[in-house]
């Protein structure tokens, strides 16, 4: 992997996270490369959500280091990480339910604008922010719904909105936490297409349970079990890995 080092956007090394006596994540190292989707899979309780929270900054690791491009972000809070180019979409949809689609995305674009906390002038007056928001909305296919209040959207549309908000912050690294959860077949197809388009010029880390989608999307896979990484590599390598077959994919023999 020596040739790929220069393209690593997000690198975690030796991460540990304990909750009391429980080792939720132990000695996890992961590299996310520009132009790739790196999927993290594993059974429930494997530590995937903890890992993504450590990377986004909502939890601090007990040990280990995280670097975002050249910056050490190990001790930075989530908002500072976001301003360094880390975007995150949540497992439980966490849009601003009372705002319209446009207001949600405009807020995200505002967060990345040069003066995110300007105290004078209406938010509507900032054309650059408005354009960025409109682009992100068009990109995920919600252009017809811009004035709809977010809580009135369907589940799938809320997921699209979630991704539009991440896009509007113009991140270089995107963390996606189960973007397909609770979604119907047709809706999922649209989101899968959207996710595969995200990696152009960016690094994407994907946590997902839908194995078909994972193997379709991922350029690289890391398998977690009981807080540890048990395998990492290309989808093909991981599929053949004996520890993976027994620990995880064994349950989904047909899918694997």
């Amino acid at each position: 992997m020596a040739d790929a080092v220069s393209r690593v956007a997000l690198r975690a090394s030796g991460l540990h996270k304990r909750f009391g006596g429980l080792k939720a994540v132990s000695d996890v190292s992961i590299d996310v490369h520009v132009g790739e989707i790196h999927a993290v899979i594993g059974p429930n309780g494997a530590g995937k959500s903890t890992l993504i929270n450590l990377l986004s900054g909502e939890l601090f690791a007990n040990d280990g280091a995280i670097t975002l491009e050249a910056t050490d972000i190990t001790r930075l809070p989530p908002d500072r990480r976001a301003r360094h180019g880390l975007g995150r979409a949540y497992q439980k949809t966490t849009i601003f339910p009372k705002f319209t689609v446009h207001e949600n995305v405009r807020l995200a674009a505002q967060a990345r604008s040069p003066a995110p906390l300007r105290m004078f002038g209406s938010v509507r007056s900032d054309a650059a922010v408005r354009d960025l928001a409109a682009q992100a909305i068009a990109r995920v296919g919600l252009a017809a719904q811009t004035q709809i209040v977010a809580s009135d959207l369907s589940h799938g549309e809320q997921r699209q909105l979630e991704i539009a908000m991440v896009l509007a912050t113009d991140p270089r690294i995107i963390l996606l936490d189960e973007p397909l959860a609770g979604m119907g077949q047709v809706e999922a197809r649209g989101i899968i297409g959207l996710i595969s388009s995200l990696k152009a010029g960016r690094a994407v880390l994907l946590v997902e349970h839908d194995m078909d989608a994972v193997f379709e999307l991922a350029d690289r896979l890391t398998v977690m079990h009981d807080g540890c990484v048990i395998a990492s590599g290309s989808p093909q390598e991981v599929r053949m890995h004996p520890a993976v077959r027994s620990a995880y994919l064994g349950d989904h023999g047909d899918a694997a």
Partner: protein, 331 residues
């Protein structure tokens, strides 16, 4: 067109008022406006910021004490010097209290602000500063003078009324600007979904602290004029009882607009005035009426606006901005 019509009519009425009613009512409305400024200030924290504060009376009272302490004996103090000093003192107190209290959430935040407010109350109650529990007099109302030439003497109820009206309008203008600005939207986002706002890159703690300090400074503005009007400051000005009363004004008026709490303050003060004049049990009746208002109009009396004048889509009261506040400590 209609958006401008009603405020302009109200403004003209406010300007004409002191020329048509007796002095007592000029002073009464001045007092109501001062409480309106305080309620609007509190609502920046509570309604827009999701920070239920029980120490805003402390900022209000502190500014009043600054005027009392800076007033030179029996001569009028200079408004241009003492008002900024009073607001700065209130802002400084809000900065210190906010910096500590904003590390907590929900019910804990309410408790911490309550504790700090009571500390300031007892600071003035139990020490000899400005007369202790007896309070202190502001013997002469402040004046606006330049080079020894008096431009405006607040001892005249009419002049006092117009100065208060000016600051009332300024408060509405500043708060409206703030709420519609990118800052205001970030503040609302932090209220509605703190975790998400932070992950988008908004520095939640700093945003809330700025809002809290601005809110405290404007509460100080109100306290300054309250002390000037009554000519007297006492520790009760800083107590939680007043904080809670102002919170009631905010709830009556509605959390979701800038001017709602002003209307809430006017409603509550007029209600008290009318009830006091008509029955000895006015507190009891007042309580019942407040309960009915809160039950019937959960969005505040401002909710009546669209019912009476027809709906303007942008100001449709969003039902309850508050529930996320008392959710507990997340993050």
């Amino acid at each position: 067109m209609r958006g401008w019509f009603i405020p302009v009519v109200l403004l003209v009425a406010a300007i004409a008022l002191p020329f048509v009613v007796p002095t007592y009512y000029v002073q009464f409305v001045s007092k109501a406006f001062i409480m309106g400024i305080l309620a609007m200030a509190l609502n920046l924290a509570v309604g827009h910021g999701g920070m239920v504060s029980l120490c805003h009376a402390a900022f209000f009272g502190l500014a009043g004490y600054v005027l009392a302490l800076l007033s030179p004996g029996y001569d009028p103090a200079s408004l241009l010097l003492t008002l900024p000093a009073a607001m700065l003192a209130a802002a400084a107190a809000a900065l210190i209290i906010g910096a500590l209290a904003l590390r907590t959430r929900g019910v804990y935040f309410i408790m911490v602000t309550l504790a700090f407010g009571e500390m300031l109350f007892f600071l003035f109650h139990d020490t000899g500063i400005a007369g202790g529990s007896d309070g202190a007099y502001v013997n002469a109302k402040p004046e606006i003078a330049i080079a020894g030439h008096q431009l405006l003497d607040l001892a005249s109820p009419m002049a006092f009324y117009f100065v208060v009206l000016f600051f009332l309008i300024a408060t509405v203008a500043i708060l409206t600007m703030l709420v519609q600005s990118p800052f205001g939207h970030a503040l609302a986002a932090a209220r509605d979904n703190e975790r998400r706002a932070r992950s988008l890159g908004f520095p939640i703690y700093r945003i809330r602290l700025i809002a809290f300090v601005v809110s405290g400074a404007i509460a100080g503005l109100a306290g300054y004029f309250a002390a000037a009007q009554f000519g007297f400051v006492a520790p009760q000005m800083l107590g939680w009882h007043l904080s809670a009363t102002v919170l009631v004004m905010v709830l009556i008026g509605g959390l979701c607009s800038v001017t709602g709490p002003l209307i809430g303050a006017l409603v509550l003060i007029v209600l008290e005035e009318v009830l006091k004049a008509s029955t000895d049990y006015w507190k009891l009746i007042e309580g019942l009426i407040i309960i009915v208002i809160v039950l019937a109009l959960p969005g505040g009396v401002r909710q009546l606006w669209p019912m009476i004048f027809g709906e303007r889509s942008e100001e449709r009261p969003v039902r309850q901005a508050a529930p996320s506040i008392v959710e507990g400590r997340n993050g």
